[in-house]
C-alpha cells in the first residue's frame, strides 16, 4: 500500500470503525437505557414513535384588555374624587379613551393617574383623555404571561402523568408541546383549555334592581351561573381570596353533595378567608371559576381552618381534573391550540418498517446496478455505500438528532445520490484510461480531477438542505438533517474510502489494465 499514505489509512479506519460501533445502539437496541454508550441512539420523532404535538398561543390580547379595565377603574375613581363627570368610556385594542363633561381638570387627573402608572402614553384632546399602553409595556405583559404559562402548562402536564413531555417556548407568544406516546390528546387539551382562575367573591343579594337591569354599579360585577346561564349573581368586583393562595386541592366524595373538590389555603389565604366569612355570616359567597359561578353557598359560620370544599354537579373525573388545575395554578391568559398533530403508534411503526424496507431494497438495487456497470469498481463503491449508511446512522445517534419520516426519505435519497461522487471519480478514471494513461496514474488523476466537481456539486445541495433546516418545521428539519449528514458521509466515503479500496485492490491484484 505504498500509494496510499498511512495517515489517510488511519483516518479511514478510525472513521469506519467508529461508524460501525456507534451505529450499534441505534440498530440493535430499542429500549431506553442509562448506559453512556447505548445512549447514542437515534431518537425517533413523534411521527415514527407515535405521540402528539401541540402548538399553543397565549392570548395576550385578553391581558391588554384586563389592563385597560384596571386603568378604567383607576381613572373613574380619580375623576370621582375630582368631582368631574365622565360621560363615555371607549376601549379599543390597546387604548382607552374617556370623554368628560368638560376639560377643566384633565391635567390634574393625568398627574394623579401617572403616580401609579408609568408604562402608558396619555393624550389629552379637549375633553377627551386617551390612555395608550405602550409597546414596552405590552412586551413585558406578553413576556411575563408566556413565562407564567410555560410554568403552569408544565405543572399541569406533569400532573397528568405524561411521560417525557417536551415543553418549550416558541417565538413571542407560543408554547410547543411534544407528548410522546400520547395517542389521543383529548384530556391534555381539556387540561390546557381552561385558565382555571379561581376567586371567592361576596354576593350582593340586596341590590336586586341592578341585577334585573343587568347593569352593575361601580365596584360590582354581574356573573352568570355555570350550570344555568340565566341565573345571575351580583358580586363584588374585588375578590376576597383567590386560587393563588391555595396550597392543595383534591377530588373528594361527599355522600350528600356528590363529587367535590376539597382545598386548603396557605396562611394568608386562611386569614383572608376567615376574615371574610366571619364578617359575613348569613350572606352568600360565590366561587367563581373562569368567569362563571360554580357554587354560591350561604356562610353558616366563620371558616377559620383554611380549608373547605367546592361542590357542584361534578363527575369524579371533572372533580379530579379541577383539582389538578387548582393545584397547578391559573394561567394568566387563555391558551389557544393553533396546531395539533397526533400519530398513533401503529402508523409510526408501519412507517419505520416501510422506511427500512425502502432503504434496504433501494440499496440492494443501487449496488447491483453499480456492479453491473462498473464491475469490480462497482463492488468497491457498493461497500463504500454500505459504510456510508453506517456512518449516517452513527452520526444521527451521536448528535442525538431526531429521526422523522421525511428523515427516512432523506436517507433513501442519500443512497441514490451518494454514489454520485463515486461515479464522477470512475468516469474520470475511465477517461484517463482511454487516453492510455498508466493504471496507477490514471486512478490518481481521476480522483484529483473529480475533486473540485464533487465539492461544487455537493455544496450546492448542502445550501438547499441547510435552508430547509432554517425554514423547515419539525419533521422537515429531520429531512434536512439526514440529507446534510448523508452528503458529508458520502463525500467522505467516496473521496477517502473508495479511494482507499481502489488502491488496496490494485496492490493485491497487481493488474496493469482494468475493465471499467
Amino acid at each position: 500500500m505504498k500509494n496510499y499514505p498511512l495517515w489517510k489509512s488511519l483516518i479511514v479506519f478510525l472513521v469506519i470503525f467508529s461508524g460501525i460501533i456507534f451505529s450499534i445502539p441505534s440498530i440493535l437496541y430499542q429500549e431506553d437505557t442509562e448506559n453512556w454508550f447505548l445512549e447514542n441512539k437515534i431518537n425517533l420523532g413523534l411521527d415514527l414513535q407515535g405521540g402528539s404535538y401541540l402548538l399553543l398561543e397565549v392570548q395576550s390580547d385578553v391581558l391588554f384588555k384586563e389592563e385597560l379595565e384596571n386603568i378604567s377603574d383607576s381613572i373613574r375613581l380619580i375623576s370621582r374624587n375630582f368631582q368631574i363627570n365622565l360621560t363615555d368610556i371607549n376601549i379599543q385594542d390597546d387604548q382607552i379613551s374617556f370623554r368628560f363633561m368638560n376639560s377643566l381638570k384633565l391635567e390634574d387627573i393625568r398627574k394623579e393617574f401617572m403616580k401609579n402608572y408609568n408604562n402608558v402614553n396619555i393624550v389629552i384632546n379637549n375633553n377627551i383623555l386617551k390612555v395608550i399602553i405602550n409597546d414596552n409595556f405590552k412586551k413585558s405583559i406578553r413576556e411575563s404571561a408566556l413565562k407564567q404559562s410555560l410554568e403552569i402548562v408544565r405543572k399541569r402536564i406533569d400532573e397528568s402523568g405524561t411521560k417525557e413531555p417536551l415543553i418549550q417556548r416558541s417565538g413571542k407568544n407560543r408554547i410547543l408541546l411534544q407528548l410522546p406516546g400520547v395517542k389521543d390528546p383529548e384530556r391534555i387539551k381539556e387540561l390546557l383549555g381552561k385558565t382555571a382562575k379561581l376567586t371567592f367573591h361576596m354576593v350582593d343579594d340586596e341590590d336586586q334592581t341592578s341585577l334585573h337591569s343587568n347593569k352593575a354599579p361601580f365596584g360590582k360585577l354581574i356573573v352568570s351561573d355555570f350550570y344555568d346561564s340565566t341565573t345571575k349573581y351580583l358580586v363584588e368586583k374585588k375578590s376576597r381570596v383567590g386560587g393563588e393562595n391555595l396550597i392543595d386541592a383534591k377530588g373528594s366524595f361527599d355522600p350528600q353533595q356528590g363529587h367535590a373538590v376539597s382545598f386548603r389555603f396557605d396562611t394568608t389565604g386562611a386569614q383572608k378567608f376567615g376574615k371574610a366569612t366571619s364578617e359575613n355570616v348569613g350572606k352568600r359567597f360565590a366561587v367563581i371559576l373562569d368567569g362563571v359561578v360554580i357554587t354560591a353557598p350561604v356562610i353558616n359560620s366563620a371558616i377559620t381552618g383554611g380549608s373547605g370544599i367546592i361542590t357542584g354537579n361534578f363527575t369524579s373525573q371533572e372533580a379530579a381534573d379541577l383539582a389538578v388545575l387548582l393545584r397547578a395554578g391559573a394561567l394568566p391568559a387563555p391558551l389557544e391550540i393553533i396546531e395539533e398533530r397526533s400519530v398513533g403508534a401503529s402508523l409510526g411503526s408501519d412507517s419505520i418498517d416501510a422506511g427500512k424496507i425502502a432503504s434496504i431494497i433501494g440499496m440492494i438495487f443501487v449496488c447491483i446496478f453499480m456492479i453491473l456497470i462498473y464491475g469490480i469498481f462497482g463492488l468497491l463503491a457498493s461497500i463504500s455505500l454500505i459504510i456510508n449508511l453506517f456512518i449516517i446512522i452513527a452520526l444521527l445517534g451521536i448528535i442525538g438528532a431526531t429521526l422523522t419520516l421525511p428523515g427516512i426519505a432523506g436517507i433513501v435519497l442519500t443512497i441514490g445520490i451518494a454514489v454520485d461522487a463515486n461515479v464522477l471519480i470512475f468516469e474520470r478514471i475511465k477517461e484517463e484510461f482511454s487516453k492510455k494513461t498508466k493504471t496507477l496514474s490514471a486512478i490518481k488523476n481521476g480522483f484529483d480531477k473529480a475533486m473540485s466537481t464533487i465539492l461544487d456539486a455537493n455544496i450546492t445541495t448542502l445550501i438547499a438542505s441547510l435552508l430547509l433546516f432554517v425554514f423547515g418545521s419539525g419533521p422537515i428539519k429531520g429531512f434536512s438533517i439526514t440529507l446534510s449528514l448523508g452528503i458529508f458521509a458520502s463525500m467522505f466515503s467516496a473521496i477517502m474510502f473508495t479511494n482507499f479500496l481502489v488502491y488496496l485492490w490494485f496492490s493485491f491484484s497487481k493488474k496493469k489494465e482494468i475493465n471499467l
Partner: protein, 298 residues
C-alpha cells in the same frame, strides 16, 4: 462486465447543440402550460397550507360509503378518500375558526367511533399557522435560489449562475405543473421535495459547467457550440448514471416507503428526470446567450 455497461454511453459524440432549438421550444411550451396550470388550476394545497382538519382511520368494514353517510350530513365540507388500501381512509375537513376546528376532531371521532378499528393520525392546522407555513416555504425556496446563484457566481462566472438558475426555475415550474395537473396533495414535504430538486438540478448543471470551464482552458480556439457538445458528452455517462441510481432509490421509496411519503417521492422522481434533462438542454444552451471569448479567455 456482462456487457451491460454498454447502456451507459461512453465516448459518446452526440450533437446536442444541433438539437437544442427543438428542446428549447419544447421546454418553453411545457413551462407555459405549467404556469397556465398553476395560475388557473392551482396546487392542491393540503391542510399544512390551507388549514383544516385531517383524520386517518382504518375501518372495520372497508366501507367508505358508510362513513360518508355518517359524516356528510354533519359537516359542510368533508371529503373522504381511500389511502393506499380500501380499509384505510383519510377524512379531510375544511377550516373554521380555531376553537371550532379543535372540537371538530372530537366530533368526527365520536360520530364514527363504532365503525373504526383504529385512529391512525389526526392533524389540525389553524389559519394563522397555515399561512405562516406557506410564507416560510416560499421564503426558503427564494433564499435557496439566491444562495445558489451567489455560490455559483462565486465559483464560476456570473453567466453560469444565470444559466443554472434558469435551468432550476424550469425544473421547479415543470414539477409544480405536474403536481397541479395530477392534483397531488401539496404539503410541507412537497416544499422539501422542491428544495431538494433545486439542489439536485444545480448539482447536475454544476457538473457540466465544471467541465465546460475546464474545456474552455483546454481548447482555447474551439467554437463554443462544439466545446459545449464535447463537455456534455464528456459528462453524459455520469449524468445518466447518477440519475439512474437516484431514480432507483426514489422508486424504492415510492413503492415501498409507505403512503404518507409517496407524494414526496413522486415529486422527486419528476424533479430528477426534468433536472437531468435541463442540465443538458437548458443549462448549457443558455450560456450561448453570453460571450465567453475573448474577454474571458485566460
Amino acid at each position: 462486465m456482462f456487457g451491460l455497461n454498454k447502456i451507459i454511453p461512453t465516448n459518446s459524440n452526440y450533437d446536442f447543440m444541433k438539437l437544442k432549438n427543438y428542446f428549447i421550444y419544447l421546454s418553453i411550451f411545457l413551462i407555459v402550460i405549467s404556469v397556465f396550470l398553476l395560475s388557473f388550476r392551482g396546487l392542491n394545497l393540503g391542510i399544512d397550507f390551507k388549514g383544516g382538519t385531517l383524520v386517518e382511520v382504518t375501518t372495520k368494514t372497508s366501507d367508505i360509503g358508510e362513513l360518508r353517510s355518517v359524516l356528510s350530513p354533519q359537516f359542510n365540507d368533508v371529503s373522504l378518500q381511500e389511502f393506499g388500501n380500501s380499509q384505510t381512509i383519510i377524512i379531510r375537513l375544511q377550516n373554521n375558526s380555531n376553537e371550532e376546528s379543535i372540537e371538530t376532531i372530537n366530533k368526527v371521532k365520536d360520530l364514527i367511533n363504532d365503525k373504526v378499528e383504529e385512529f391512525r393520525r389526526s392533524e389540525f392546522v389553524g389559519p394563522t399557522i397555515s399561512s405562516e407555513l406557506l410564507w416560510k416555504g416560499l421564503q426558503a425556496i427564494s433564499f435557496a435560489l439566491i444562495a445558489i446563484l451567489f455560490y455559483i457566481w462565486l465559483r464560476f462566472e456570473w453567466q453560469f449562475g444565470f444559466g443554472a438558475v434558469v435551468a432550476l426555475t424550469h425544473d421547479v415550474l415543470f414539477t409544480l405543473g405536474v403536481l397541479s395537473l395530477l392534483k397531488i396533495d401539496f404539503s410541507l414535504a412537497s416544499i422539501a421535495a422542491i428544495l431538494t430538486i433545486c439542489g439536485y438540478s444545480i448539482n447536475d448543471s454544476v457538473v457540466v459547467y465544471d467541465r465546460i470551464r475546464e474545456n474552455l482552458r483546454k481548447y482555447k480556439k474551439l467554437d463554443m457550440k462544439e466545446l459545449f457538445n464535447i463537455s456534455i458528452n464528456n459528462t453524459l455517462s455520469r449524468t445518466v448514471m447518477t440519475s439512474l441510481t437516484t431514480l432507483i432509490a426514489l422508486f424504492s421509496l415510492y413503492f415501498l416507503g409507505g403512503e404518507v411519503i409517496r407524494p414526496f417521492a413522486f415529486a422527486m422522481v419528476i424533479g430528477v428526470i426534468v433536472g437531468t434533462y435541463s442540465s443538458i438542454f437548458i443549462a448549457v444552451p443558455t450560456l450561448l446567450l453570453f460571450q465567453f471569448r475573448p474577454q474571458d479567455d485566460e
